[in-house]
């Protein structure tokens, strides 16, 4: 299944809850304020590096760009997708849990 997370990890616990519950091997998409979790050199970078090994982690490019985050600031192992890629993830990975 696909888990989608739109909350900043610095303000809300949505990503923590997602990582606690989501079975390993699933797909996670970070979008809206969730994209801040995908950046290098933050207090959650190590958590996301580990997550990128256990899950397929994606981040929405348009939301990164809107927030001034260059693609080279994205943690290695996290794949940048556009809205079409978001649609593909929904199609490929099945039911969607939205961690609002």
């Amino acid at each position: 299944m696909l888990h989608i997370v739109n909350k900043s990890p610095f303000e809300r616990s949505a990503l923590d809850s997602c990582l606690r519950v989501a079975p390993k091997g699933g797909a996670i998409l970070l979008y809206e304020d969730g994209v801040y979790a995908a950046c290098v050199e933050t207090t959650v970078t190590d958590t996301l590096k580990a997550a990128a090994i256990e899950y397929s982690v994606f981040v929405l490019g348009p939301d990164l760009a809107a927030r001034g985050i260059a693609p080279d600031r994205v943690i290695e192992g996290i794949e940048v997708v556009d809205y079409g890629g978001f649609v593909d993830l929904v199609e490929e990975h099945g039911p969607v849990q939205s961690w609002l």
Partner: protein, 131 residues
């Protein structure tokens, strides 16, 4: 109000629906309005599960008294779910324990699941609705 005629046939289709409650009551309206959705789902004869996790566990805490804040106490409505054949109510253990709650603190009987067990159950669903 226009009643739309469904343009697709859903007769006889039973899907696994999970409602995921992660928000506390009263501070925002999410808990109340998702509960209305759960009640409506019962009319469609689907396989419905309701999950309380994160601050959602506070929705079913006993002893709520909202008289002094001028809003309706909707916690008794959870007890009505059984009458609608919505009987699969789950609480995530980690969320419950983190908030100092135990299974006796809830207004309805629930099954307590670990995060891992809940993840497995979520993985089996067809439709997951969150609010």
């Amino acid at each position: 109000m226009n009643e739309l005629e469904p343009d697709y046939d859903t007769e006889g289709v039973v899907k696994k629906f999970m409602f995921v409650n992660r928000k506390a009551p009263y501070g925002t309206i999410y808990a109340l309005e998702i509960l209305e959705t759960v009640l409506i789902s019962a009319a469609f004869d689907q396989d419905v599960s309701v999950v309380f996790m994160d601050d959602g566990v506070f929705q079913i805490k006993k002893g709520q008294d909202t008289k002094a804040i001028n809003v309706k106490n909707f916690s008794p409505t959870y007890r009505a779910l059984e009458g609608y054949d919505v009987e699969k109510l789950f609480v995530e253990r980690e969320s419950m324990e983190a908030r100092g709650l135990a299974v006796d603190d809830f207004v309805v009987p629930v099954e307590v699941l670990s995060a891992e067990e809940l993840g497995g159950l979520m993985d089996q669903q067809d439709v997951i609705i969150t609010g």
